[in-house]
């Protein structure tokens, strides 16, 4: 990454979008995450990788406020999430999932308007400011020309962009994305990564996204590796997307199949030479 980009991203920084300290979380008696600590700066895109069932989703759910009984600290924009009301939290953190809702008779615009929930009054009536935010989000996610269509009639790629627009409309400091590209084809995957980068740069939104596809982690500024509910390691894509780390993280066995796979994933970067 060149220095100009770094400097640009550094504007108005210093403020951490999220800081997580000694987080332990799980469901009832079952503990999934132990002793997780990390932080993300404004405008930084962080990818979350690791084997299935090791706690990526649980981490996102905990930050999203869906698992209230956790220990440790989570502060977003310097505020402890426990001290926030549901609405206040929603103004700081928004969410996007890999699966899209079915929304039989919902139009794209209605779904995006849903993102204004924490800003509107008792009956959800939109103010001019809310409408502006909706327009901005529709434009940002490139779904303005399909805004009046019914959600169910869209393609998968379009649906994901709509859910992204909804998350943008919430005007968050931090966006959580749970495998946002899993059901998309390559064209949509790369387009989607472009949308995320654009928002991070223009609005300074911090992104924490879990990813299945290792080659997409390339698009992140930093990578967190989760294994067995703990933070295994973290670093830049250059540092993490290497044969030895990936093999350890995913418990891959030495052999021809593994080599072939890693060559595919790591091709085109310096690390490929090390295989």
């Amino acid at each position: 990454m060149d220095d100009v980009k770094k400097a640009k991203r550094g504007e108005g920084l210093g403020l951490k979008a999220i800081e997580v300290r000694k987080l332990c979380s799980g469901y009832g008696q079952r503990r999934i995450l132990s002793d997780i600590s990390f932080s993300i700066k404004r405008g930084e895109r962080v990818a979350l990788i690791g084997p299935n069932g090791t706690g990526k989703s649980t981490l996102l759910k905990t930050i999203a406020g869906m698992i209230p009984d956790h220990t440790g600290e989570i502060s977003v924009s310097g505020k402890d999430v426990r001290s926030l009301t549901d609405n206040e939290r929603a103004k700081l953190i928004s969410l996007m999932l890999s699966k899209v809702p079915s929304g039989e008779w919902m139009t794209v615009r209605e779904i995006v308007e849903n993102g204004r929930y924490p800003y509107t009054g008792k009956f959800g009536i939109l103010s001019d400011k809310d409408r502006d935010a909706v327009e901005y989000s529709l434009k940002t996610a490139d779904v303005k020309d399909i805004a009046e269509k019914f959600f169910k009639t869209l393609s998968d790629g379009q649906k994901q962009r709509v859910m992204f627009a909804r998350a943008v409309c919430q005007e968050p400091e931090l966006m959580l994305l749970d495998e946002p590209t899993s059901f998309l084809d390559i064209k949509y995957k790369t387009e989607f990564m472009g949308l995320i980068e654009g928002l991070a740069k223009t609005k300074g939104t911090a992104m924490l996204m879990s990813l299945h596809e290792l080659y997409l982690a390339e698009y992140a500024d930093r990578i967190l590796c989760i294994k067995d509910g703990r933070l295994f390691t973290e670093g830049s894509p250059e540092d993490i997307l290497k044969k030895d780390i990936i093999m350890k993280l995913y418990d891959l066995k030495e052999g021809e199949q593994t080599d072939r796979f890693l060559k595919g994933v790591l091709r085109g970067r310096g690390a490929a030479g090390e295989i």
């Binding site: 406020g65 869906m66 999932l97 809702p101 079915s102 008779w105 209605e110």
Partner: protein, 342 residues
């Protein structure tokens, strides 16, 4: 659809519902075992009620008209709440056994109080029905959360309905009081035998409940996108779920207390309204379901009274005949549901 097209569609559909409500209202007042002309009705309404026609109108047809309209509306709003709760359009107070649970409890309370020599008043009937509805709901919810599959939920609800109905019939058969004869019609579902004071009481309860439903329209809309999205946009999901259960229970219990179980209105009407209005927005769907539920029940009650007059069909016979095709059509149409992060 653009915002303008949507608005026009809403206006057109609401006007249509209002016209149908008026039409079936007049037909219900005029038709029956004694046929009244529109002039008789107008006379009695506006000039002099002290005629045989006026007597029929105010003692029999008016309360019955209001019952069908208001209880029908309450029932479909209750259905809409349950569909929102379960994220599934096949849910409704009748298929989930809630109506039958309410019916059973009302029957038990009625028989007991008749044994003790006094009849139940309207408020106690509603309370008994609410208790029965909540017990049935608790059982069905427990099974649903244990299994987590929507098909199991529906089957369990239907079975609960059969079980409660069977118990009700059993109690009625062995209850020897002559007043119990009245219970027979009620336990099959009917808008007959509801008097003016009943109407006053349930109108108050339903007015209160439906107003409360309007107050949760905003979180309901967010909840339609699934639990995770709702939480992330700031909805207190636990509180919303409790509200949905209590309000849908209160609405369907009130209906069951006075009209017994009325089948399929809660599923068929909201579904038809989704297709008419082409929206899911609760702020539109709540009034639309209420009005259309009224229209549907007025229509069904008219048929039940008129077609084989003087014999009366039970209301569920008619609502089932017209409601089940809608439900089957829905099931065929329904795509595989996509569940997000539950």
């Amino acid at each position: 659809m653009t915002e303008k097209e949507r608005k026009n569609r809403y206006i057109f559909s609401f006007v249509l519902l209002a016209l149908l409500l008026g039409l079936f209202g007049v037909l219900n007042l005029c038709m029956g075992s004694v046929r009244l002309s529109a002039q008789d009705v107008a006379n009695a309404l506006f000039y002099c009620a002290d005629t045989p026609a006026g007597d029929i109108l105010f003692r029999i047809r008016m309360p019955r008209l209001l019952s069908a309209m208001i209880l029908g509306g309450a029932l479909s709003v209750s259905g809409f709440l349950l569909q929102t709760f379960f994220h599934n359009p096949i849910a409704g107070p009748f298929v989930l056994g809630i109506s039958s649970g309410a019916k059973l409890m009302v029957a038990i309370f009625m028989i007991l109080s008749l044994r003790l020599g006094n009849a139940l008043n309207s408020w106690t009937m509603i309370a008994a029905a609410f208790l029965g509805a909540m017990l049935a709901m608790a059982f069905v919810l427990a099974v649903a959360s244990y299994s987590g599959r929507i098909s199991v939920l529906i089957i369990c609800g239907v079975l609960t309905g059969y079980f409660c109905s069977a118990l009700t019939e059993l109690f009625i058969t062995f209850a020897d009081d002559s007043d119990i004869v009245n219970l027979h019609g009620w336990s099959q579902g009917s808008f007959s035998g509801i008097n003016g004071s009943n109407v006053r009481v349930f109108s108050i309860v339903i007015l209160f409940s439906v107003s409360a439903v309007f107050l949760i329209a905003k979180p309901m809309e967010a909840f339609q996108l699934g639990e995770a999205y709702a939480v992330s946009s700031g909805v207190n999901v636990k509180r919303l779920r409790i509200c949905l259960i209590l309000l849908s229970g209160l609405l369907s219990a009130t209906v069951a207390a006075f009209a017994g179980p009325v089948s399929f209105v809660g599923i068929a009407v909201p579904q038809l309204m989704r297709n008419l209005f082409k929206t899911e927005k609760p702020i539109i769907m709540i009034p639309a379901s209420f009005m259309a539920g009224g229209v549907f029940c007025l229509f069904s009650d008219l048929i039940s009274r008129v077609v084989f007059a003087p014999t009366e069909l039970s209301i569920s016979v008619v609502t089932s005949i017209f409601g089940t095709p809608v439900v089957i059509w829905m099931m065929l149409k329904k795509q595989k549901e996509v569940k997000a992060w539950d």
